[in-house]
């Protein structure tokens, strides 16, 4: 018997006790919060472990589950060696490459794609929501159908095209094909539907141009959806692996997930290094998520719950 087992048994005994005393409501409340808390502990444990692991030496990485008790702290259990090793320049065919270059690549790729997607998708979504034009139904049908096609199917021919366009091994070759997405257009279409027609008509009567209506009237109104989509898009591209892994070849052009996957082999015997890289790669999405959390949950579920 260890402490953890005793704790779990005690929690279970408390639940049974409440049931036996006839306090059904209290028992179910107790069970609910216990289960939720245990679930949260399980979810958070790997993060906590990672946070401790990045400061530990290779020799003690697995010695303590998290950090050792305070009196055992030493140079070995709390140092920045993993960071030093990670940020060291590494030789490649084109000269030394530094970790911050991968961070920069990932940032450029994810940011450019997100900004362009927000612009093009909102423009398209607004057009679909608020205009009547020839071919609209056919286009909507085509878009719905195209969402059924898994993107991996297109990767091989797309790779061939990118090679033919001489865009292979550059971030442009990743950004340009990903500038617009059907999913984003549908999200913005949904959001633009709720903009009152009267407001658009009034702006038109006042002499506002069509692009001006989009920019100055519609966009501010669909801001929550834009925020949600911003996060969805940034997360997707920041963490993207399949396409970058195929399209990028030179060491100094790689993005974070691709490099970290390579480091799995390179630092097989010094796991602290790629774990540190992994921990650092988690920070930007987390910051963005905390900034946009409220809009994000609403945006993520609006399509499914309404539809």
């Amino acid at each position: 018997m260890n402490l953890l087992q005793i704790l779990l048994l005690a929690l279970f005994a408390a639940f049974v006790g409440l049931r036996l005393l006839g306090r059904r409501r209290a028992a179910s409340r107790f069970a609910r919060w216990t289960l939720l808390t245990l679930g949260a502990v399980v979810v958070l444990a790997p993060f906590t472990w990672l946070l401790a692991a990045v400061f530990k030496d290779r020799s003690v990485l697995n010695e303590f589950i998290f950090l050792p008790p305070v009196e055992q702290w030493s140079e070995k259990t709390l140092n920045l060696n993993n960071f030093r090793e990670l940020f060291k320049g590494r030789p490649s065919l084109t000269g030394p490459v530094y970790f911050w270059e991968y961070v920069l690549n990932s940032t450029v790729y994810a940011t450019c794609t997100t900004v362009l997607q927000i612009f093009f998708c909102s423009l398209g979504g607004y057009a679909l929501a608020k205009y009547e034009f020839r071919g609209k139904n056919a286009l909507t049908l085509f878009m719905l159908g195209s969402m059924m096609i898994p993107s991996v199917l297109l990767l091989a021919p797309l790779y061939k095209m990118v090679v033919d366009l001489r865009l292979v091994d550059s971030l442009a070759g990743l950004i340009i094909p990903g500038m617009v997405g059907t999913y984003g257009i549908f999200l913005f279409r949904q959001a633009c539907m709720s903009v009152p027609n009267e407001m658009i008509d009034a702006a038109r009567l006042d002499g506002c141009g069509e692009f001006g209506i989009y920019l100055r009237l519609v966009m501010p109104l669909v801001r929550p959806m834009a925020a949600a989509f911003c996060l969805i898009c940034f997360l997707g591209n920041w963490n993207a692996f399949f396409a970058p892994n195929v399209f990028l070849h030179s060491q100094d052009k790689l993005t974070l997930p691709v490099v970290l996957n390579l480091y799995l082999g390179e630092f097989r015997h010094d796991q602290g290094v790629f774990l540190t890289g992994t921990a650092l790669a988690m920070i930007p999405p987390a910051v963005l998520f905390f900034a946009l959390q409220r809009e994000f949950i609403a945006g993520l579920t609006s399509g499914a719950v309404k539809g």
Binding site: L35, P150, L235
Partner: protein, 309 residues
């Protein structure tokens, strides 16, 4: 004729129609990019499946040979089997867990709900690759956090070689995927639960229905749209599983011992981009697309049938 018009609710006068070119202009980025980077590759993907290629530049027409090869290749059948097992586990283990969490959370106060929702969703901020890298270390025999956790609670598993013993590879992938995605689907179920009509549940309760009966006959049917949506999305996602096994089993490019962790997309990635046979890769892509298409249609159909009852 006039009678039927009079019965309709009063409508605002129809607004003047805009007749300019703006919508085409607004949609032109989508149209141009989609033609270039979706329609053209799509047609090429059809053609490519009938060729044998060596890298992006050389190809030879082979007819249906790629498909014939796939269905005689025992490695491909293994991939198909593994991926199907994973999809079934996703639907029958992961989604019920998501639903259970959503039900547990649904009756809490707003602030507590927000906190737990944040915690359970947080693994999704981390991409599959990073999760695979992290869990690859957590599954270390004797020392890994997961091995120690199992040992402490169940007195089993300290020495379990999760990522090298064929019997344990799929369970390891499933455990990781549960950590990653249970909270994601919970968000959908939680949002749907909040739209369920409370008076219906209350009426059922007064009529003496048990909580389980209320859930099964009142709550679940009234959120069936979301359930069908989530089931379809997770089947589609499951059939595209790739990055998680690739990073967990990085030493064998995601295949694992005895191909125990091999998925369809891992097979595609290896053959198309490591061995250079883009034609075979396209053929695999078509098989995946076809599976996804058929399963989605069946599920939408079943959803309709359930509605008519």
């Amino acid at each position: 004729m006039s009678g039927s018009v009079a019965q309709r609710p009063v409508r605002p006068p129809s607004r003047p129609r805009y007749k300019g070119k703006a919508p085409y202009l607004f949609l032109s980025p989508y149209l141009v990019l989609t033609t270039a980077f979706f329609a053209v590759p799509f047609v090429n993907a059809i053609l490519l499946a009938f060729y044998e290629t060596n890298g992006p530049r050389s190809r030879a027409f082979v007819g249906l040979a790629n498909f014939v090869y796939l269905f005689t290749d025992s490695v491909f059948r293994r991939a198909l089997f593994n991926t199907t097992v994973f999809a079934l586990v996703s639907v029958f283990v992961q989604l019920p867990l998501s639903m259970a969490l959503a039900l547990l959370l649904n009756s809490g106060g707003d602030r507590v709900k927000g906190f737990f929702r944040l915690v359970f969703f947080s693994p999704n901020l981390v991409g599959q690759v990073l999760v695979g890298i992290l869990f690859g270390v957590l599954f270390t025999p004797r020392y890994g956090l997961i091995n120690r956790g199992f040992q402490m609670v169940l007195h089993w598993g300290l020495e379990a070689r999760w990522l090298s013993e064929p019997r344990l590879i799929m369970p390891a992938i499933v455990l990781t995927s549960l950590w990653l995605w249970v909270g994601f689907n919970m968000i959908y179920f939680l949002a749907a639960l909040q739209t369920v009509d409370k008076t219906l549940q209350e009426a059922a309760r007064i009529d003496g229905a048990s909580p389980w009966q209320i859930f099964w006959h009142v709550t679940l049917p009234s959120m069936r749209h979301v359930v069908i949506f989530v089931v379809i999305m997770s089947v589609i996602g499951s059939y595209q599983l790739f990055e998680l096994p690739l990073t967990l089993l990085s030493e064998s490019y995601g295949y694992g011992a005895n191909d125990a962790g091999l998925t369809l997309i891992t097979y595609l990635n290896y053959n198309a981009f490591r061995c250079g046979d883009l034609g075979l890769g396209s053929a695999v892509g078509w098989v995946v697309a076809l599976i996804i298409f058929v399963i989605s249609l069946v599920q939408i159909r079943l959803g309709r049938l359930a509605e008519e009852d």
